[in-house]
């Protein structure tokens, strides 16, 4: 298969400018600078490219909302905050091919008329940060960034801005506040960022993977891109797969690829002795799929939606038969309650209550009424708040309860977690030596 995002992943020093240039990198900027900005937007619209950060919004359409000749500046923000549990694909792009992101960013900036851009990168990321900083320097030296790019009238400065450990800053308006030096609290929309975003100016926020697809689209044309994938879900997508599969890692696949086949062929199937119970296909915020649904679903926006889930960020978490679903949901509830920014009471209170209830259910101290309560609280959380972090817990709760209710009921009737019986009886976890641990030490990644 032709790869769009990862063709250089296996080349030595793929993160350096000479390697990127040798494989044709930055050549397309000459073509870009001869196009009109509205032609670029039109091309991206025709390609069918949709945002890869989670929401799947049409990229060209989003750009077209930016006013053509506003009085002040316009901005591009690159979302490299990657914090959705199960997702580690942007990290791979930043570490292995930072120049592709920079070239894509120049293309977006040119199309929307931005003179300044910020790469909002997760504060925990060290190697990815060093790689992108080094790549920016290289690009400036060669005139791919800065004043009068390649001798054209177009100038664009691109800077990094490090996050400081808050998942919510991946939400686009929280990200804007964070770049402005404020607490990362999401803003009420409208106004949408395309009209009033960073420092009150028209702004486009795009995910790392979205922008990294642009060099291909501009070079080969929208039709070439749209010919990959399905008619509605065009192009390729990165999936980061984790859990007990033989080859966890980041893989690029054409959209529409059958999930079961992906797990077997790309991820190497499950580890010896492991049985598939469930898959969270698109990062921790999306509804879970049962092993049966895994057989039926394809990896594209429509098929996943038909099966009640979402493509999301492509962070795929494989859950084996022996891992407790109540505990899995408890871990997610802890995450969302910890990461809620606290502005909206349905989210702040709802996430905290759900965590509390799941904690007692997991310990075997829950009641059948707790299960109804979980659904009631979730219903009150979805669609009621400033951002969708609240829905991001409500959706998994409802899907776990709909599809794995038996495990919740089992905890209630037994009075303990059947998966953790040993924890309970000994009163303390047992320390396993590495050959007893769950994973194979030799597995290959990335």
């Amino acid at each position: 298969m032709e790869t769009i995002l990862t063709p250089n992943f296996n080349l030595p020093d793929s993160h350096t400018l000479p390697v990127y240039e040798k494989t044709g990198g930055y050549k397309t900027l000459h073509k870009l600078l001869k196009m009109r900005p509205d032609e670029v937007i039109e091309e991206v619209k025709k390609s069918g490219l949709r945002g890869r950060g989670g929401a799947g919004f049409g990229t060209g359409l989003k750009w077209s909302f930016v006013p053509k000749d506003p009085p002040g500046p316009r901005y591009l923000c690159v979302n490299a905050d990657e914090g959705e549990p199960g997702t580690f694909k942007d990290r791979a792009l930043l570490e292995k091919d930072p120049h592709r992101l920079i070239e894509g960013s120049v293309m977006c900036a040119y199309a929307i008329g931005a003179a300044v851009g910020y790469i909002y990168i997760r504060g925990e990321f060290d190697l990815p940060y060093r790689r992108i900083e080094a790549a920016l320097q290289e690009a400036y030296q060669k005139g791919y960034l800065g004043k009068n790019i390649l001798g054209s009238p177009f100038s664009f400065d691109l800077y990094t801005h490090q996050g400081a450990g808050a998942y919510i800053c991946g939400e686009e308006t929280a990200l804007l506040n964070s770049i402005e030096g404020k607490r990362g609290e999401p803003r009420i929309k409208p106004p949408f960022p395309a009209i009033s975003g960073l420092f009150g100016a028209p702004t486009v926020i795009n995910n790392v993977e979205t922008l990294s697809a642009l060099p291909y689209i501009i070079e080969k044309g929208a039709e070439a891109y749209a010919s990959i994938g399905t008619p509605k879900s065009t192009g390729t997508k990165l999936f980061s797969v984790s859990g007990p599969v033989k080859k966890p890692g980041v893989y690029e696949v054409p959209l529409g690829y059958p999930l079961r086949k992906f797990l077997d062929e790309y991820a190497g199937g499950l580890m010896e002795g492991k049985i598939l119970k469930a898959v969270i296909p698109g990062g921790s915020s999306v509804p879970v799929l049962t092993a049966q649904e895994v057989e039926e679903v394809n990896l594209d926006y429509e098929s996943l939606q038909e099966h009640g889930s979402m493509l999301g960020s492509g962070g795929m978490i494989v859950i084996p038969d022996d891992f407790c679903m109540v505990h899995a949901l408890e871990i997610l509830a802890h995450f969302y309650s910890h990461e809620s920014c606290g502005q909206c009471s349905p989210c702040r209170e709802g996430t905290a209550w759900i965590y509390k209830i799941l904690k007692r259910l997991e310990k075997g101290q829950g009641t059948p009424e707790d299960l109804d309560l979980l659904i009631d609280i979730s219903n009150g959380m979805a669609g009621q708040t400033i951002c969708v972090l609240s829905d991001a817990l409500a959706m998994p709760v409802k899907s776990f309860l709909a599809k794995f209710k038996n495990e919740f009921e089992e905890h209630i009737s037994l009075g303990y977690c059947p998966h953790r019986a040993s924890f309970r009886t000994s009163g303390a976890p047992t320390y396993l030596s590495s050959d007893q641990l769950l994973w194979s030490p030799r597995f290959q990644s990335l």
């Binding site: 910020y118 925990e124 998942y167 995450f335 920014c341 976890p429 641990l437 994973w439």
Partner: protein, 157 residues
């Protein structure tokens, strides 16, 4: 006590200020510089940040307390941050969490007497495919086993 940024840090801050249309926007990067220079973000350190950015202490305090990577209290020389999220847990991360607690004789959020280690449980580090994962200061350590944890901790002087 009034804290002052070193010449080096001041040069860095001037460089950073050029990236933004106003000084307040540099709050996050300057807080990182302050943390590196002063060890943790004491009231005095945050006041120094407010002064240099011509903003209020209240603003700086509000920002510093929002984000987890800013240490409002001193942390050990090595900050051991183990992921407690789902993919790592599926791969046995909770065993590593318990192993670390036992080995360092610490609960999460505590620091050893000698100030060498602080232990924290953190959210997903985007190392899910190579979990269990932890971060010590800037460095990531992945595919952890108890033996590997021993080796890593012993190598930290």
């Amino acid at each position: 006590m009034i804290l002052k940024f070193s010449k080096n840090s001041k040069t860095k801050i001037d460089e950073i200020l050029e990236r933004y249309p106003n000084k307040q926007a540099a709050t996050l990067p300057v807080l990182f510089i302050a943390q590196r220079e002063f060890g943790h973000l004491s009231r005095e350190a945050m006041e120094a940040v407010a002064k240099i950015l011509e903003t209020s202490y209240a603003h700086v305090y509000g920002v510093a307390t929002f984000y987890t990577l800013y240490n409002k209290k001193p942390v050990g020389k090595y900050h051991v941050q183990i992921c407690g999220n789902l993919s790592c847990s599926i791969m046995g991360g909770e065993n590593i969490q318990e192993y670390l607690k036992k080995k360092l004789k610490l609960n999460f959020g505590e620091t050893t007497q000698d100030g060498k280690f602080t232990l924290s449980s953190v959210e997903c580090l985007a190392s899910c495919g190579t979990g269990p994962a932890m971060q010590i200061n800037e460095a990531y350590y992945e595919k952890l086993t108890p033996e590997k944890v021993d080796e890593i901790l012993n190598s930290l002087k």
